[in-house]
């Protein structure tokens, strides 16, 4: 099961690194969002520190939504999806493969965005980096799992690029809230244990939605 998932994910990443257009575009987009935040606030009235967690997460949210349609778009180009469905590959493996590829992709975007965020807004990220990475990972897994499932449906509708954010954002906002609160606790120098409640919620969200997406995915591809 995981063997096929891994092969599908590796194939996706190979294609992505071959063209590089998508990842570059999202990276540039991330920089632009950070830039918009810089000019979209009054620096004399709002301290960066108060706004920093929100800036980080709003940027990640938009960047993630942009990248998610890509996974299944790739499969529709030459109807490769038909070939995948025809192969002796479990539907669940197909989903996990796509999820892995999307996670890798979003992680790369976040890895580009985080240092730029620290640089632009002068946030001391380094001292809390391990904990922050943990929070980011917990939140990312949850909404990428839902996003991967939804993108399998939206790519085959009209207005795919518009529909995915509309469907996905309500699902992203709860983990976003918890991630922002946990991040704020970290930036304020409080120990991670204080944010335990938020982290538990993030964990529960991940477990519920990864399982659910795994189980529901066949219904999105089987006629």
């Amino acid at each position: 099961m995981l063997r096929h998932a891994w092969r599908i994910a590796r194939k996706d990443l190979l294609i992505e690194f071959r063209s590089r257009t998508a990842i570059l575009a999202v990276a540039v987009f991330t920089v632009l969002v950070l830039l918009v935040f810089n000019f979209g606030r009054d620096p004399t009235a709002v301290a960066t520190r108060d706004l920093a967690p929100s800036i980080l997460w709003v940027t990640f949210t938009f960047a993630a939504v942009l990248t998610l349609n890509r996974a299944f778009h790739l499969e529709l180009e030459n109807q490769a999806l038909e070939g995948l469905l025809l192969a002796p590959v479990a539907r669940g493996s197909l989903y996990l493969g796509k999820l892995l590829a999307n996670l890798a992709f979003v992680t790369i975007v976040e890895a580009i965005g985080l240092p730029l965020f620290a640089l632009f807004f002068n946030v001391p990220v380094l001292p809390v980096l391990p904990s922050l990475a943990g929070v980011i990972a917990l939140a990312t897994v949850g909404f990428v799992a839902v996003g991967t499932l939804f993108s399998a449906m939206t790519v085959r509708t009209r207005f795919a690029e518009l529909l995915l954010p509309v469907l996905l954002l309500p699902f992203m906002i709860p983990p976003l809230i918890w991630a922002v609160l946990a991040t704020a606790a970290l930036f304020a120098g409080r120990p991670l244990s204080e944010a335990g409640g938020w982290l538990r919620l993030l964990g529960a969200y991940d477990i519920v939605f990864v399982t659910l997406a795994y189980l529901l995915f066949p219904a999105t591809v089987d006629e």
């Binding site: 939804f150 449906m153 085959r156 509708t157 509309v166 309500p170 659910l212 999105t220």
Partner: protein, 225 residues
């Protein structure tokens, strides 16, 4: 169409009883001490909120059964329930600010409960938009079912957040573990209102279901034999 007619009569009855709720609320139920007359909206607001959320759970339940049984009736019910849920969420979102203005001093507040009702509303909007964006009826049913199940599973997370947030919202005073801390006559009025809203939910869903049948045409019923 018997269902449509029955739905209409039930709606009329529901609306009549709703008027009854308000006569009772305004004339026969005491005025709340701190909130004054504005509290009266609570009899409309809370039952609508309960059914806005309940409708989503029923959408999820019907969707889950649809994926197993592939019975188009379940899908039709889910669609009807989603549309009625949208209306109820809209009621909450309009009555909330009307209550909020005199009490909180602002029309809109990012209070957790109101915010999450907004999300519920957007969840419904997404569900209905997805249905509109898929042309093939079989695919539409499957996609809608997947989203419906996910939506219903999001509701508990929404609920959790309500309790974890610091909020302006009056904490639930009826559905809480300890005994209800509400004067008897208020509780009675409120329960009456909840029953009326339940009736309205059923009536609206019946009508919407009948309309979906009509829209599918005579072939609609047997299409998914």
């Amino acid at each position: 169409m018997k269902l449509l007619v029955a739905g209409r009569w039930l709606t009329a009855l529901g609306l009549l009883l709703l008027a009854g709720v308000y006569v009772r609320a305004l004339a026969f139920t005491p005025v709340e001490r701190t909130q004054g007359l504005a509290q009266k909206i609570f009899y409309l607001h809370v039952p609508a909120a309960i059914w806005a959320e309940g409708a989503m759970l029923l959408v999820g339940l019907a969707s889950a059964f649809y994926l197993f049984l592939k019975d188009p009736r379940l899908d039709r019910f889910a669609e009807a329930s989603a549309e009625v849920g949208t209306i109820f969420a809209a009621i909450v979102l309009t009555t909330g600010p009307i209550w909020g203005k005199p009490i909180w001093g602002t029309w809109w507040s990012w209070d957790a409960r109101l915010t999450f009702t907004l999300f519920l509303f957007l969840l419904y909007a997404g569900y209905l938009l997805l249905r509109g964006a898929v042309a093939d009826p079989g695919t539409r049913r499957r996609y809608a079912a997947v989203l419906g199940i996910c939506g219903a599973c999001l509701v508990p997370f929404i609920h959790f957040s309500v309790y974890l947030f610091r909020t302006l919202h009056p904490m639930p005073i009826i559905l809480k573990p300890s005994a209800p801390s509400l004067p008897g006559s208020m509780l009675a009025t409120w329960l009456f209102s909840l029953i009326v809203f339940t009736l309205l939910y059923v009536a609206f869903v019946m009508q919407r279901y009948a309309l979906a049948l009509l829209r599918e045409g005579p072939a609609g019923g047997e299409r998914h034999a």
